[in-house]
Amino acid sequence: MTVLLAGGAMTPFNRRKDGSSLRDWCRTAFARALSDAALEPQDIDTVVFASESDFFTLQLNPAAVITDALALTGVRTLRVEGGGASGHLAVQTGAALVLSGLARRVAVIGAEASAAHLDAGKVGKLYSLSFDAWTDGLTGVGATSIYALSVLDFMGRTGATTDDLAGIAARNRQNARHNPNAHLPLDITAADVAASPVVSSPYRRLDCSPLSDGAACVILARPEDLPRSGVGRVRIAGMGAASDRVRLGDRPAPGQFPAKTKAALQAYQAAGIGPEKIELAEVYDSYSGAQLQGLQALGLAEDVVASERAGRFTGEGGLPVNLSGGLLGQGAPVGATGVAQILVAAQQIEATFPGLRPASPPRRALVDTHGGIATTCAVMILESLA
């Protein structure tokens, strides 16, 4: 059975200063996604909402409230949470509901207010509870330090350097300059990254993805439940999800992301392809080095450092990565992040992405998202229906 991404939309990702609310962002994303899918609100029978933390949204049971705000009544509504992977896992959940026959047309809406509601220090403190709050958390360690320790191990094993990381941080911001929805469309170079203040060595300010506000929505359905049988849309060819030990210290190799490898293998197997068939990827670059760690775990390069240095992951390269800007450039309103990653990858296949695009549209794209530090991993392969 085939599940299609029948349509989708996102709000700009940024730090909202216009007084608009999370409910407004969800309404906007939902209305535009419906329009993109040529559907009416009454066509939707299920809403899957994704957000990471009620401390950010200040709304418990948010799925019910957002569904109500969308003027939908009598539909199945639920919320999916998986840390940074919340949005991606919500799309997988929506697809599973369609595949099971329980739902016909699902609206998956991800949203987060990680910038406008609280000051950055408080958000950072809450994010530090994304790891083991009892051991790692009580030391006061923040997410950046945990990612820093992981990437140091990766650098030691692979020879990746801070120059490699800075190059990624700069490139993703340059990619974002073409993306009208991007939070950080910055005209910067690797030298600017290297000159930004240290947050947790080796990571500097510009190696870190931003705290963003925003929402994204995709509509899922089988071809027979869509106008014109969904011709021209993108199908979900494969999905995978897997977990890892939560604490870095409990992992044999703290710089490697084996759960991501497992999730990717499931997705490749379901799609009936190997990684060499992937023509474009949106990879979870919460930090610059995580992009390289992710690409390695996903099996998308024999030697990820050599490929990075050879330009393979640029817009003109053999495997364009994060042409949206990724989390570093497009931004990261957590619940919306994975939904937006999937949306922009589908738009690349449809050749409708409103930013940087490869010379010819990819036939297949991979989307990679995780929560914690590659603790809750989710991978999806999208394919053109043609």
């Binding site: 200040l58 360690v141 950046t144 604490r247 870095l248 210290g249 409990d250 703290p254």
Partner: protein, 128 residues
């Protein structure tokens, strides 16, 4: 609109309470798996090798060695392998002026029990 929320949590630590009690006193209390013998510090309630849930407590010397270290503008964190443990612990470093090497678990100066580690350096007096 503004909304103020202030929360004071009481967090029972369940089966890991002896570990936290040890940390308060700078004592490294580790779990030992009765099935496979794995010793883990910090503990987790389940064996990281065989998944066994029958675990006893053993006291380690509290000494260990830094594997990886990261510095923020005001604090330093490290992954430390404690002597006798199969896994590693994420700790705050008490004396970041010493770069790396061996050291010892110590009681945290204030706040809740946590993994606090002083590096050994004969040239320095570790500040408590």
């Amino acid at each position: 609109m503004n909304f103020h929320l202030s929360l004071d949590y009481r967090v029972p630590t369940g089966c890991l309470e002896p570990f936290f009690e040890g940390l308060r006193n700078g004592v490294a209390l580790a779990e030992r798996c009765e099935a496979c013998g794995r010793v883990q510090f910090p503990p987790g309630g389940v064996c990281g090798t065989c998944g066994g849930a029958s675990l006893g407590w053993v006291t380690l010397a509290g000494t260990g060695t830094v594997i990886l270290r990261t510095d923020t503008p005001d604090r330093t964190f490290a992954l430390v392998r404690f002597d006798g443990a199969a896994n590693a612990a994420l700790v705050e470093i008490a004396n970041p002026a010493v770069q790396t090497g061996p050291g010892m678990l110590m009681p945290p100066p204030e706040g809740p029990p946590r993994l606090f580690f002083a590096l050994t350096d004969p040239a320095e007096t570790p500040h408590a």
